[in-house]
Symmetry: C2
Subunit: 470 residues, 2 copies
Amino acid sequence: MSDTDLETPDLPAPLPASRLDEDDRLVPQFVRDVMERVEAGDDEGARALVQPLHPADIADLFEQVDSDDRRALAAALSDMVDGDVIAEMNEHVRDELIDSLEPHQVADIAGQLETDDAVAIIEDMEEDDQRAVLRALDPDDRAAIEEALTYPEESAGRLMQRDLIAVPEHWTVGHVIDYLRADDQLTTDFWEIYVVDPQHHPIGTCMLSWILRAPRKIRIADVMKREQTLIPVDMDQEEVALRFQKYALISAAVVDQSGRLVGMITVDDIVHIIQEEASEDVLLLSGAGEGDINEPISESYKSRVRWLVTNLFTALIASAIIASFGAAIEQMVALAVLMPIVASIGGNAGTQTMAVAVRALATNQLTRSNSWRTIGREIRLALLNGATIAILVGLGAGFVFSNPALGGVIGAAMLINVGVAGLAGVLVPLLLERFDQDPAVASSVFVTMITDSMGFFAFLGLAVASGLVG
Amino acid sequence: MSDTDLETPDLPAPLPASRLDEDDRLVPQFVRDVMERVEAGDDEGARALVQPLHPADIADLFEQVDSDDRRALAAALSDMVDGDVIAEMNEHVRDELIDSLEPHQVADIAGQLETDDAVAIIEDMEEDDQRAVLRALDPDDRAAIEEALTYPEESAGRLMQRDLIAVPEHWTVGHVIDYLRADDQLTTDFWEIYVVDPQHHPIGTCMLSWILRAPRKIRIADVMKREQTLIPVDMDQEEVALRFQKYALISAAVVDQSGRLVGMITVDDIVHIIQEEASEDVLLLSGAGEGDINEPISESYKSRVRWLVTNLFTALIASAIIASFGAAIEQMVALAVLMPIVASIGGNAGTQTMAVAVRALATNQLTRSNSWRTIGREIRLALLNGATIAILVGLGAGFVFSNPALGGVIGAAMLINVGVAGLAGVLVPLLLERFDQDPAVASSVFVTMITDSMGFFAFLGLAVASGLVG
């Protein structure tokens, strides 16, 4: 919301090699140096070290130090921990820091930020604290934030900023440039301008480079691109991210239900959503919940133990199947030795297929048009893989136990289980998606249940049915 | 490389709801309609349907139809399948299509594209075909592409475009605007301009909005931001993506080893890398290789079966451990029934921790400064999880088998295995990273090996050591 001073855009740059390593990470020695000064009460020394850092690197510094040290660090750095730094911080580290501040301090920080960043800080606060912060804000900022909070969480309305440039279509390029130069209140950081009709409906978008390259007398309507990608204000942020990605957008106009321009989303706010959504899939598939190393332990415990207990029930099904073949195992203990191999390789094969299917669904590559083709492809792959492993395992087991029949049984069970794994790995995510469930959340429980149970059942069942045991 | 016509920037917009669903996917009926016309020889009808599509959607159309139908579709649409469409296509679908074209057709397409997109098409071709295409290109385009091909694959040099705006620092804002208006040969699409010294070293970056808001007489050196994030030309694309993300960049100057400006990378080329790199982790962790549903089956088979065979060897270790306790299992078949539970829950717990650690490493959140804190956190979590599951399983097994000692043994084994899983889940990726290996590639083999072996060993070993079986 605050306009950056035009003459001195003041974002410091990334650092010389001594503070950052080649991957832009703070080097451990630098982190230790800063904390040593903080602990020695040498605030000036700590500030001198941190001074040249980019806000993103100051935010990193807070993430790198121990939770207990963060408040002391914030006190030592005081006003260097400004809105830009807070906006770059990991959510959990930020919430912890914000909790330790007074409402008026939070309001100071929020007032320095663009609406979307201010909302991100305020939306997670307790209701009482939220109200106290809102009361301490400028009326303009408060109105903008309160309006943003009326939109659903993770929607375009929360992501958008309200400061944008909109001009009428009858203006010329010269008119636009004069307007931008004359009005001090306008935002300074924008990549495109929007051309609107008298009802404030966007009718075109114009890259700044087109304006700069066009003569002053040309009408803006002749420079702009009429076809635009508009974002409905209630669109989910994941869809917004996919749309930015698909159409290679730098910024996009956000419109309300009557089609009026209400805000703008820029790609820099989208980039971390793309990354988060892709990360989310690997974490969800592994049952690691939010899976952030800065998440409070109690929250991580809740999400992880829930997953383990769920998997305990699927493991019990597999155990019940084994128990029903107890007599066969007593008769031939080699069955107990070999049965985990069948289940384990089936589980691996299922996980491979499932990971591919979940990512293809998330990136809109796997759709209703190519579901059957993809299922067919995965089954063919599973049979190829299953046959290869079946031959290896069958020959190996037959040889080691000097029992060709046992080799035949484990080979056949392996082929069946890897085949079933391939089918389940693609069908389960597809069905979950069809029933509007997130395939990343529940797929692996079902797939593992199927491959474990089928592994034990096929192997032990074939052993009995073939007369290998009696 | 071709300049877009300034007056008619011609990217069509996303479509009315009838062709795309709410997630911007082509609706199956539309895909069928197009293919029906293609198959009926009604090229005009097919073209009329496809005409309003955005290039990204035409590319999607090719991905949605069966592999056999793609050549017929390309023939029917002919020149509508231009460089923009090809650049948006899935790599495997594109390679298949390019293989069916003559070198001069490929050269026509490459000539329409920016260097980075042209390179992406040409770099995967056979050497002979590549030479034929290069010969058919304009000398300027050829030189640019040949230079790009001298940089390593997946480096900044391959990602960058050479068309950029660089101006000397003594120019005024007015001078810059006049230059942009006067020279027809300049690129049209750019977001920032670079200010260079006489040796062509970048000394500042200037957002176009700052230029538009500044009076003509102001020197560009007083508007630009001096602190810039420069990208070395040989930097890996994953690092480039992390740098764009960390510093919220829209475009960045690429410099050679002597620090001279050689190109520019824009965020729209980075967005899909961020997404790919994040997807890659879930696919690598699952052993699904590249994991693309359009990848040829033979390639998918090779990468997946390699993974399954690797896991077969780790499963054999677990089997050997079970075999060494054969006598105990013969004596008490309940051990065979329960042992997969211990291994399976341990595997799940290890996978949770590993997914969190791998993502934290990939996003530079887990570093040398906070390794010990993270290890400590994960061990505490693992012990909490392990204790919870141990109590559940111990009570359950003791009750079901009316054998409290068996319950005690499985509970203790579970606590040990989940604890070990937590430790392995964070230590294995950290160690692989320390030895410059990609943690996503090999972590899960090691972690599964540890949790499987330890699960069987702890459970069966404790059963024998405690005197439960003789």
